[in-house]
Amino acid sequence: MPAPRFEQSVFINCPFDPAYENLLHAIVLTAVSLGFIPRCALESGAADYRFPHILELLTKSKYSIHDLSRFTGEGTANLARMNMPLELGVAIGLKLSRKKHRWAVMVPTVPMDAHADQVAYQYQRYISDLAGKDPLRHEQTPESVVREVYSWLKTLDEVVTPQPGGPAIIAALPVFQKKIADFKDYALGKSIWADILTAALEAAPKVNA
C-alpha cells in the first residue's frame, strides 16, 4: 500500500478528549464523504502523540484543519492546551515555505461554560494574529462542524465531483456513530483509527453512479 496521496490528505489537529469526540467524527465523515483521507495523530495507535509523528503527517498532507476549541485554562493549574496552536503554526509555516499547503482554523462560537461571554468573537482576542483570516465557526455540534468543514472542503481542487450533499452527511452521522461503537465493542473498548476510517467509508452517503 503506497502512502495516501498528498493531494487528498487532510491533517486533523483537534482535541482528543471525550467531549470533542463527536466533533472529530463529524470532521472525519465529512472528509471521507468528499473523497479526502483524514490523517491525525491517532493513526499511530500509540499512547504518546510524539511531535515528530505529527510533523510527518502534516508534511504529507496538502490540507489541514485546526480546531482551537480548547483555548481556555483547564484543571487546577488553569493551563491552556498549546499543542493545537503549535501545530497550526507549523501548517502556516508549510504554506509560507512551499505554498502547496492549505489550512483552515475552526473555532467555537458558543459559550463553553456559563462564565464565557461573547465567545462568538473571542478568537479575535486569543489569536488576534489571525485578524483578517476569518476562521470556520461552529457551534460545538456535529451538524455545525459538518457545515463548516463541508463548505471549506468543497472549494478544494481534489474534492470528488459530484459530491454528496451536506444534509446527507449529517443524516449519516448516527449510522457512523453506531458503526464506530460496534467496532469499539469488537476491539474490547479500544478506539482504533483504521476502524473509524472504515466506519466512515461504510456510512458515507454515496453518490449515485
Binding site: M1, P4, R5, Q8, V32, G35, F36, I37, E43, S44, G45, A46, P52, H53, E56, R102, G132, D134, L136, R147, E148, Y150, S151, W152, K154, T155, L156, D157, E158, V159, V160, T161, P162, Q163, P164, G166, I192, W193, A194, D195, L197, T198, A200, L201, A204, K206, V207, N208, A209
Partner: protein, 189 residues
C-alpha cells in the same frame, strides 16, 4: 459534457437584486468591465471592496450581503487559477446554502477556455472570448440566465459516483494498511 437544465428549487426571478462578483486580483480590470456591462443591462453588482470596512470581518460582511444577492458570478481567467480569496468567498457561499433557500445561483464567467475548479465544474459557464468586446454579450447572457433561471445548475458529469467510489476504495486500502502495519513502521522517518 452532458448538461441538463435544472431550476433550483424555490427559485424566484429576482434580477433587481444585485449580483456579487468574485474575481482574482489579476482579474480586477475584467471584473470592472463586467460590472460596467451589467450596469448597462440594469443589473447592480457588488465586489468585496464595496462593502467591507477596515477592521470588519469580511466574511460576516459578505455573508450578510449574500442574503440580498440574486447570484454569485465567479470570474475565472484563462489560466483557470482560483485565488485564496475566491475560495474563501466560495466557502461563504456554500455555508450560506445551509441557511438560505433558494440557493444562490453560481455563474462561472470564463475568459478563454480554462479548466474550471471542481466546485464550478457542474455549472454551465458563460464564455468570454474577447476581453475587449465580449463583456456586453456576457452581461446579456447573465441577464437571460437570471430571467429564465435555466441551465444555471446542470446535471452532474456523467462520471456519476465513480470518482467517489475510487476514492473510498483508496481510503479503505489505507485503513487496511494501518491495521496490518506495526506502529513503528507507520512512522519510520
Amino acid at each position: 459534457m452532458e448538461r441538463q437544465a435544472k431550476i433550483p428549487s424555490g427559485w424566484q426571478k429576482s434580477i433587481q437584486k444585485p449580483i456579487f462578483i468574485s474575481y482574482t486580483s489579476r482579474g480586477r480590470a475584467n471584473a470592472e468591465r463586467l460590472r460596467s456591462a451589467l450596469k448597462d443591462e440594469g443589473i447592480e453588482t457588488w465586489v468585496d471592496s464595496d462593502f467591507i470596512e477596515p477592521g470588519e470581518s469580511w466574511e460576516n460582511a459578505l455573508q450578510s450581503r449574500l442574503r440580498e444577492a440574486s447570484a454569485v458570478v465567479f470570474l475565472i481567467g484563462p489560466d483557470g487559477q482560483v485565488s485564496e480569496q475566491q475560495r474563501s468567498e466560495a466557502t461563504v457561499v456554500f455555508r450560506s446554502e445551509w441557511e438560505e433557500q433558494p440557493k444562490l445561483p453560481l455563474i462561472p464567467v470564463i475568459i478563454g477556455d480554462p479548466e474550471l475548479p471542481p466546485f464550478l465544474k457542474q455549472i454551465a459557464p458563460i464564455k468570454v472570448d474577447d476581453i475587449k468586446q465580449g463583456w456586453p454579450e456576457a452581461a446579456r447572457k447573465i441577464k437571460r440566465t437570471l430571467n429564465a433561471a435555466p441551465s444555471v445548475v446542470s446535471k452532474p458529469p456523467s462520471s456519476g459516483g465513480s470518482e467517489q467510489k475510487a476514492r473510498l476504495l483508496e481510503i479503505q486500502q489505507f485503513a487496511d494498511f494501518l491495521r496490518e502495519s506495526p506502529a513503528k513502521e507507520k512512522f519510520a522517518r
